[in-house]
């Protein structure tokens, strides 16, 4: 479930490109990254080709890459992503890396997110009265439970940023505080939420989502209006730095037809 960034954020780049750049900056060099689809996939490719050349990409299909694919790819199963990779193995082995704590960071999206970063990609309504059925977890729940941290990327709309998700597909911080430890999750949790309007992070104690930076063109007010609970801000939210020329060049190299970043 990717975001649906359709408008440009002003300047010479699209909103999706801004989000990809923001995602890329969350990856540090040498980290093991569980790479998802769409914008996060692009974010990984950009990070890897710029500031994180030794990042390792792990794909749940059963692929490990320490180098970039030689051609642009649309999905992680595209053959150029398999060719000349560093390990083609079983999903179970990729999940073992995740389960053991070897994966530093992963990216997931959702249809709904709540103030504690819980994500819903399963159903709108109630299990016994489903209004909208969504595709489900895929590997998202595994990443949210087992990676050392995860980044959420999604469109910022009021009906998506809700006080409490209808269904927890991928656990964030539950109802806050030490909830993860209490339910048995040994590590992890969301470290950032990159939206179509800004970047949000989580307070260390309460684990509540707070506004950290505002995309160019958006304001703290717009963001609060599009959030379904009384969103708090960091004392002085920054402006999200726009993509650099280098980042834009890479994004356009990896998404030459702007399939994901129009």
């Amino acid at each position: 479930m990717a975001a649906e960034p359709t408008k440009t954020a002003g300047g010479d780049y699209t909103l999706a490109e801004l989000m990809v750049a923001a995602a890329a900056r969350e990856i540090a060099d040498g980290e093991v990254v569980f790479v998802g689809m769409r914008l996060p996939l692009l974010g990984f490719l950009v990070a890897k080709s710029l500031h994180a050349p030794e990042a390792v990409g792990v794909y749940e299909l059963g692929i490990i890459r320490e180098s970039l694919a030689s051609e642009p790819i649309l999905t992680m199963g595209d053959l150029p992503n398999l060719r000349r990779s560093h390990w083609l193995a079983d999903t179970a082995d990729m999940m073992a890396l995740l389960g053991r704590g070897d994966v530093d960071v992963s990216f997931i999206g959702g249809a709904q997110v709540d103030r504690f970063g819980n994500l819903n990609t399963t159903l709108i309504g109630r299990p016994d009265r489903i209004e909208t059925r969504l595709p489900g977890s895929g590997g998202a729940c595994d990443l949210a439970c087992l990676a050392r941290r995860h980044i959420i990327i999604m469109a910022h709309r009021k009906h998506r940023f809700v006080d409490r998700v209808d269904y927890i597909t991928s656990p964030g911080y539950g109802d806050g505080g030490d909830w993860r430890r209490r339910v048995g999750l040994a590590r992890g949790g969301p470290s950032a939420v990159i939206t179509t309007l800004g970047v949000l992070r989580f307070e260390p104690d309460t684990r509540e989502m707070v506004l950290a930076s505002v995309h160019p063109g958006a304001t703290p007010e717009t963001i609060r209006d599009n959030t379904g609970w009384a969103l708090r801000s960091a004392s002085d939210p920054r402006t999200t730095p726009p993509p650099t020329a280098g980042e834009l060049a890479m994004i356009r190299r990896f998404d030459p037809h702007q399939y994901w970043t129009r």
């Binding site: 299909l61 999905t75 199963g77 999903t91 489900g136 927890i168």
Partner: protein, 303 residues
């Protein structure tokens, strides 16, 4: 040597997939998805199937749309490139389809449990999630050594695994390469295995490289020659992913009427791999075919 197992696709489906079967398909997640076999299931109008898989891309959506399915035990059902699976949505929202919500990890563990002959396997995924509310095959349990709270995943025992592979001999010894997903678990867990293969090869080709085998050959029930049998998903060594087909399918599945038309053309009207090739057209096939070969360095099994 064992018995020859080569069958036509209709015969293989007829013989090994009766109504009410539990079938695992799409075990490699995005690649080598057995579309040809799935379409034959639709043509034969099978009923009350249970489909098991991690993410199936659009194959599960198609079989559900044809009314063959009673229950899905999967991590994700949709269209990888566009999101929603419309037939799946309609079937669930109208109450016609039962779902048991898994993650990629829990579905792999459920199959591995069946493969190992144990009733469950533990994991730390899904803790705190609502998957426990919509999947009776998930419970919490406690580690007898550490007291840790864990998720217990109940075994899923499929009747049949359908696997598309690059090459197989007529006895069911096959080579598969690329990203394997949960193929190994799927085949070890299932009572029976149907292989659809891009190529039927001499047994010597397979025994030249026994590490390339993924499937216990003696458990294979049918080997079907099915060139382009995984289109529009990619098959390493044979063809690339046909992205356009997935985009087209999104449009073609938005309403039941559109889906019926799509199915009439791409499924009901197809009697053979040749029919399918004609429908695809030479130009499109040439465009999808491997252009730049890149062969593996051989290894030596001599003595």
């Amino acid at each position: 040597m064992p018995k020859e197992k080569r069958l036509s696709l209709p015969d293989a489906i007829e013989r090994f997939i009766p109504d009410n079967s539990r079938i695992v398909m799409g075990a490699s997640l995005e690649s080598v998805i057995p579309f040809a076999a799935g379409h034959e299931i639709m043509r034969q109008g099978r009923r009350d199937l249970t489909l098991v898989g991690p993410i199936s891309d659009i194959l599960f959506d198609q079989i559900i749309g044809a009314g063959c399915v009673r229950k899905v035990q999967a991590a994700w059902v949709g269209n990888v490139i566009t999101g929603s699976g419309y037939n799946f949505r309609r079937a669930v929202e109208s109450g016609r389809l039962e779902t048991e919500d898994h993650t990629n990890l829990t579905v792999s563990l459920a199959l591995r449990a069946a493969a190992m002959g144990v009733p469950f396997l533990p994991t730390r995924t899904a803790l705190g999630s609502d998957l426990f509310r919509t999947n009776p095959g998930l419970k919490t349990t406690t580690c007898p050594f550490t007291g840790d709270r864990l998720t217990a995943v109940a075994a899923i025992q499929p009747d049949v695994a359908v696997l598309h592979v690059q090459r197989s001999d007529v006895y069911g010894h096959a080579h598969a390469w690329g990203n394997l997903g949960i193929s190994r678990e799927a085949c070890l867990a299932a009572h029976n295995i149907i292989l659809t293969a891009e190529e039927i090869v001499d047994p010597d080709v397979i025994t030249s490289d026994p590490n390339r085998v993924v499937v216990p050959g003696f458990r294979v029930g049918a080997v079907v020659h099915a060139p382009w049998g995984a289109h529009p998903s990619p098959v390493p060594g044979h063809y690339n992913r046909d992205h356009q087909a997935f985009l087209d399918y999104r449009e073609a599945s938005k309403t039941p009427k559109d889906f019926t038309e799509w199915k009439a053309k791409w499924v009901d009207g197809v009697g053979s791999p040749e029919d399918y090739a004609e429908l695809l057209g030479r130009e499109r096939m040439a465009q999808l075919a491997i252009k730049e070969h890149d062969y593996s360095e051989p290894v030596d099994y001599g003595c």
